[in-house]
Symmetry: C2
Subunit: 237 residues, 2 copies
């Protein structure tokens, strides 16, 4: 195999992201416990989050407004306004959180960029994503950066067409089956799944049949250069 | 004068925008009156909005969270959670509002596009802006669409460099002195100010000395094709 383009996801692939949302959910749970609801229904919260995607897209704002709505619903409107504002302010914490890059990321990008053009493909709020990319100091490793509202097969197809890349010469790397792996496999591309314990529930999917000749798994992003080398050098087709 | 590129602002230039925020402020005022505060301090609300720009940028979300914060502050936390949620939900109304295009816009774009490449330059939340552009049905008139976080001189400079356009051959059209006119004049470009009674307070600025050979005013977008023709045909330099 030979790759004309290696694309990487950003949130929870290059840097911490889901952990801030977990802290937000913990704060929500603690507050609800204070109001006498020690175990808020996770499924209901998830439903509210999904219903808010149409307005706010993926990101901190939709999350904060969702936990605020869930809190009003759960407490039948008894929650105090000041507490509700605290839930909303979690969005500010998430948006202004430092970018905590995972170990090994910069070395990996440097090693990959020597032999391949790299692209960052991330979804979510454009301003927040751009801010994180800039603050990460990693921008220089990427020839292109694509911030998309949704990572669907059509999204990837559109990107490959825009840059005139064949799917079989494209490989996407990320931590989310639903966003980074399945849609890429669906359009005939290659995908590397990095295991990450902190992956948002929404990104978990039912087990799929995966084409083993185009789907690869690694435990850490540091394993990526070796994998790419193996695929290109030891398995040239 | 000859123009290689005509750029237009979107919100309150091509379609209604500020009116939805006015309705939001009216709803906020009505709710505050219910709580015994019939005349909320506009200056304070504006301060809160400005302080939230760093987190949310321009748009419906920052506005809704700002009026929610102002309401908690004004009522010293006495506002009911359900009412606070209503203020937040104003963001959903704004985001899902129909795109109401001004009279004459489509004819104007059609007339201009016959002789010039057109660009849309708009600021605000990317998803919301893209959604409005798509729903407007006007996308086809524009060769380029730039959604920027802030309309500063640097922003315009960057766009002109990207498309290799000289400032003196660029003209920007919009309703906001602060965003559409002054920064363009500052970098040596031309600007057309369309008078619009509904322009957000934040966009009003103190009177500037304007270079009259590069600054033009019209009362309606329908006057634009004639103005451009006059400048190019009757005043060729």
């Amino acid at each position: 195999m030979q790759f004309d383009l290696i694309a990487l996801d950003a949130d929870d692939t290059l840097w911490q992201n889901e952990i801030y949302y977990r802290r937000g959910r913990d704060a929500f749970n603690a507050l609800m416990a204070k109001y006498g609801f020690p175990d808020p229904d996770k499924v209901r919260l998830h439903e509210i989050e999904i219903s808010n995607l149409e307005f706010y897209g993926y990101g901190a704002v939709g999350f904060a407004i969702s936990i605020a709505e869930a809190a009003v619903e759960l407490t039948s409107g008894e929650i105090e306004a000041a507490d509700l504002l605290k839930l909303l302010a979690i969005s500010k914490d998430i948006i202004s959180a430092e970018v905590e890059i995972y170990d090994g990321v910069e070395e990996t990008l440097r090693a990959l960029a020597d032999y391949h053009p790299l692209m960052l493909i991330t979804k979510g709020d454009r301003n927040h994503q751009e801010s994180k990319i800039t603050r990460s100091g990693l921008k220089g490793y990427f020839e292109q950066i694509e911030i998309v509202p949704e990572k669907s097969p059509d999204t990837y197809q559109g990107i490959l067409e825009m840059y005139d890349i064949l799917p079989e010469r494209f490989i996407m790397v990320g931590n989310a089956m639903k966003s980074d792996i399945l849609p890429v496999l669906e359009i005939g591309g290659n995908a590397v799944y990095i295991h990450n314990d902190l992956t948002w529930a929404h990104e978990h999917t039912v087990q799929h049949e995966l084409p083993e000749e185009r789907f690869f798994e690694i435990d850490s992003i540091s394993d990526l250069p070796d994998l790419i080398r193996q695929l290109e050098v030891e398995n040239p087709t």
